[in-house]
Amino acid sequence: MTTLTVAFTLNGKPVSLDVAPADRLLDTLRYQLGLTGTKEGCGEGECGACTVYLDGLPVDSCLVPTFQMTGRRVETIESLDARSLAAFERCGATQCGACTPGVVMTAWWIREHPDLLGSHTVRELMAGNLCRCTGYDGIIDAVTEAVGGEGRENRKR
């Protein structure tokens, strides 16, 4: 079978590996590199459970072919600093946890881009991450708190 060699930066460190042409970044991360924090929810870019950063932008890693990673920068949930997750614990932002790494990745990206909140609500920005347990309130409260809001969202009506 044809294999391709790709070299990219993963969580700040260089990696090089052989992949099949059809391999998804999600599978490479999980099954080849052992980074199982990134979850598969739907495999078609609807649920956001597999969110990683590609060159600093959140993407669904189930839709990204690994061979395209050459020379690029990938960051996964394993790269995040766990110390600042208190709001997520306190607000009940996780229940079953299957969507959670993706939720946290999107939330962190919002936190690093607070200007987005001038034109979008947290609910709009989180709409790419499906959660079936929380009804979203715990997540929205936590993100709002994490980005420096007053703890309760100010939803536009």
Binding site: R30, T94, P101, A127, G135
Partner: protein, 732 residues
């Protein structure tokens, strides 16, 4: 207390079944029936594949009876001569490469000589479609109280209505999956599941192994909602058969498409009401018929039907009630457990019907409910006397007040008269949910639980009840710590491993906190006595006594045990369906505000207030989260979640076209609890998990009706359906 495993989940460190390290394993895959009914004429293996490189399993490889043990022993592990539904498993494959096994599965052709399928549960089956009994009725149940015919004949007003609810897919975010391997002579099966002992029983039965040669371990479970109640037994058996044949570890993980196509869903239902009323709206007679689609095997349909009919009359007093229920055999993929378990279907109909009655009589829907809500001393449809001291009208009033129901009603009149494209309306539902197994079910389960003292003076809770997001680990920790005066860190909850934990029953039916939590408390008491302390001893005294025991009895940890005991005064007759259906009911009133865009016909929930009495709230964050999650799942069922059927199988088995609510589709869910401790529940708690899915659909659809002047009788009320209703209303 914060959720115990929250940090592991937030950081991605929690390991679900597909995250576990596994050496030298094979990927499993299931080959399924393409047809809804017929004889398997042949199984053809594609010529371009070297099949000697694959492990292939069919029904002949099953050591014991070819049956997935459940209520009725009718469902095969793998189809042998014939199939009863599309996607029925016929063959199993395994290979080192996941891509290879997927291609191989596509290269197998199951040729079926088709026979006439029964695909509409509402229709009377033609003779050629009869496959179960004389009439395809899987189960027939009846509740009778008073004299319905006489009361209907005498009632000043009779209002009739027919209501329909669609199937619903669970969409737990972690798809189903299992791994199986041999360890010595012991078959080990690990995976995502709600009921380790169901899986154990199914494995023992079909594989002909006693319990010393099978071990089932639950892995952190990424959502269940009932979807991982009975179905995991199938995947466990499939993975086990492949592991036994190959002698290698096997991993069988469904992708989303397979999960949605092949696993169970909420039973579709058709409910007919005929209600006799006094002029002031008092209920004089309720004649209700509930029909559910069971699908191609019995699975849990009789029990779902039971809960559906018991809840069908609503939380109202009525002297004359007749409820008949039928679960129909069809050649659809079997339906199964889903949060609410029949009660959401029958209560959608009941609460929607209340608004239809109100409109027919010209009375206020609030007043209609006020005059009929059960008061202490009155009886439910099964004759259960309600005497818990909860003021159900006050629960409703609290919800109305929080939602500003009356003020909003006035505001909407002005808004709707002037706004060019938007219409708003308020909707209400008052409802209840019985916690635990129905009738004698809890006694029959004979649940047992242990709490062991550890050498360091802490304790370990040994239970088969699992964490799937609802908070079992946290609540059991809190209950044990509170009972013994320990810190949460002194408490460990054992992994649900059937070689270690006793059978404390399935993690279903809103029973884990209320009933199994009670066993945690009593096993703590027993442990305390075992180490020579009285019931008042707490904290350091307990730890010291446990340590002392360990010094005096090396290698024999002190163990406290508890077994289920029926609360006093509970009587149930399963033959007549009379008596105390549940130890306790939780009560609720949900109020919602909906906005409909006349251009798109899309309905959007813009405010939601959920008030409930669930006994004592043990952990406010977890309890609120259960309600919010249940409400949003209910809003999805009401407005957008629609299974499209082809030959009895889901055609839209992907999240691209089976839509569930996103964060931007729903408003904040405002939750309030009215507390009234239940003396026989752990810490005063009643069951909570399922209640919140019963109310949203009728509340939302009642609001849509109010906003648009239409009269929707079926869910989901998708934009397409609402457009039709509005066009019909205009045409008259």
């Amino acid at each position: 207390m914060l959720r115990r495993e929250a940090l592991a989940k937030l950081t991605g460190r929690e390991r679900y079944v597909d995250d576990l390290p596994l050496d030298d394993f094979l990927w499993g895959m299931t080959v399924r029936s393409p047809a809804p009914r017929g004889r398997i004429a042949s199984v053809r293996f594609g010529k371009d594949i070297d099949w000697s490189r694959f492990v292939v399993v069919d029904h002949r490889d099953i050591p014991g009876p070819n049956v997935v043990a459940l209520i009725e022993q009718d469902q095969p592990v793998l189809a042998a001569e014939s199939v009863r539904h599309v996607h029925e498993p016929v063959l199993l494959l395994a290979h080192r490469s996941r891509a290879a096994v997927r291609s191989a599965a596509r290269a197998v052709e199951v040729v079926v000589a088709e026979e006439p399928a029964a695909l509409d549960f509402r229709a009377v089956p033609a003779p050629a479609q009869i496959q179960y009994g004389k009439d395809n009725v899987l189960k027939h149940l009846k509740i009778e109280k008073g004299d319905v015919e006489r009361a209907l004949a005498r009632a000043p007003v009779v209002v009739a209505g027919t209501y329909e609810t669609g199937a619903q897919e669970h969409v737990y975010l972690e798809t189903q999956g299992m791994i199986a391997y041999l360890e010595g002579g012991v078959l080990v099966v690990k995976g995502s599941m709600q009921c380790p002992y169901y899986v154990l029983k199914a494995l023992q039965h079909a594989l002909g192994r006693d319990e010393t040669r099978v071990r089932v371990i639950q892995t952190p479970t990424g959502g269940g909602f009932g979807g991982k109640e009975e179905f995991p037994s199938h995947i466990a058996l499939h993975a086990a058969l492949l592991a036994l044949k190959s002698g290698r570890p096997v991993k069988l993980i469904y992708d989303r498409g397979e999960d949605m196509a092949a696993t169970t869903k909420r039973h579709p239902a058709l409910v007919r009401h005929r209600t006799g009323l006094a002029r002031d709206g008092r209920l004089l007679a309720q004649d209700i018929e509930v029909v559910i689609d069971g699908g191609a095997y019995v699975t849990l349909s009789p029990v779902v039907l039971s809960r559906a009919i018991i809840h069908a009359a609503g939380p109202y007093a009525c002297d004359n009630v007749r409820i008949t229920g039928r679960a129909m055999f069809t050649n659809a993929v079997p339906f199964g457990a889903f949060r609410g378990f029949g009660a959401p279907q029958s209560q959608f109909a009941g609460e929607r019907h209340m608004d239809v009655i109100a409109r027919t009589l010209g009375v206020d829907p609030v007043e209609l409910r006020r005059v009929n809500l059960l008061k202490d001393g009155q009886t439910t449809a099964t004759g259960q006397v309600i005497r818990d001291g909860t003021d159900r009208v006050a629960v409703m009033e609290r919800a109305l007040e929080l939602a500003r129901y009356r003020e909003k009603g006035h505001e909407h009149a002005g808004f709707n008269a002037t706004h060019p494209t938007m219409r708003r309306g308020m909707g209400l539902a008052t409802f209840y949910h019985g916690a635990g197994f129905t009738g004698g079910g809890e006694a029959a389960l004979k649940s047992r639980l242990r709490v062991a003292g550890r050498a360091d003076g802490g304790v370990e809770v040994l239970s088969a009840n699992i964490e799937m997001g609802q908070g079992t680990l946290t609540v059991f920790t809190e209950l044990a710590a509170n009972r013994l005066g320990l810190e949460p860190d002194d408490v460990i909850i054992a992994e649900a491993d059937t070689t270690r934990v006793p059978n404390s029953g399935p993690t279903v039916a809103s029973r884990t906190t209320m009933i199994v939590g009670g066993l945690v408390e009593r096993a703590c008491d027993d442990l305390r006595r075992r180490v020579g302390l009285d019931d008042a001893s707490r904290g350091q005294a307990v730890k010291d006594a446990i340590r002392r025991w360990h010094r005096e009895h090396p290698g024999e940890p002190p163990i406290g045990e508890a077994a289920y005991e029926r609360p006093p005064g509970i009587e149930w007759d399963d033959k007549t369906y009379r008596g105390d259906a549940y130890g306790a009911f939780a009560w609720a009133a949900y109020v919602t505000e909906v906005e409909v865009d006349l251009r798109t016909c899309g309905a959007r929930v813009i405010d939601f207030v959920a008030v409930q009495e669930v006994g004592k709230v043990l952990n406010p964050t977890l309890a609120r989260g259960q309600v919010q999650g249940g409400v949003v799942q209910g809003i999805g069922w009401a407005l957008m979640e629609e299974c499209k059927w082809q030959q009895g199988a889901m055609a839209n088995n992907q999240l691209t076209n089976y839509l569930i609510p996103t964060s931007d589709d729903v408003p904040p869910v405002r939750v309030a609890f009215v507390e009234n401790p239940y003396p026989h529940g752990a810490g005063g708690a009643k069951g909570l998990g399922e209640l919140p899915i019963d109310g949203p659909a009728p509340a939302v659809v009642n609001a849509v009706a109010r906003a648009t002047g239409t009269d929707p009788r079926a869910i989901p009320v998708t934009p397409e359906r609402l457009m039709e209703l509005m066009e019909n209303a205009v045409r008259g």
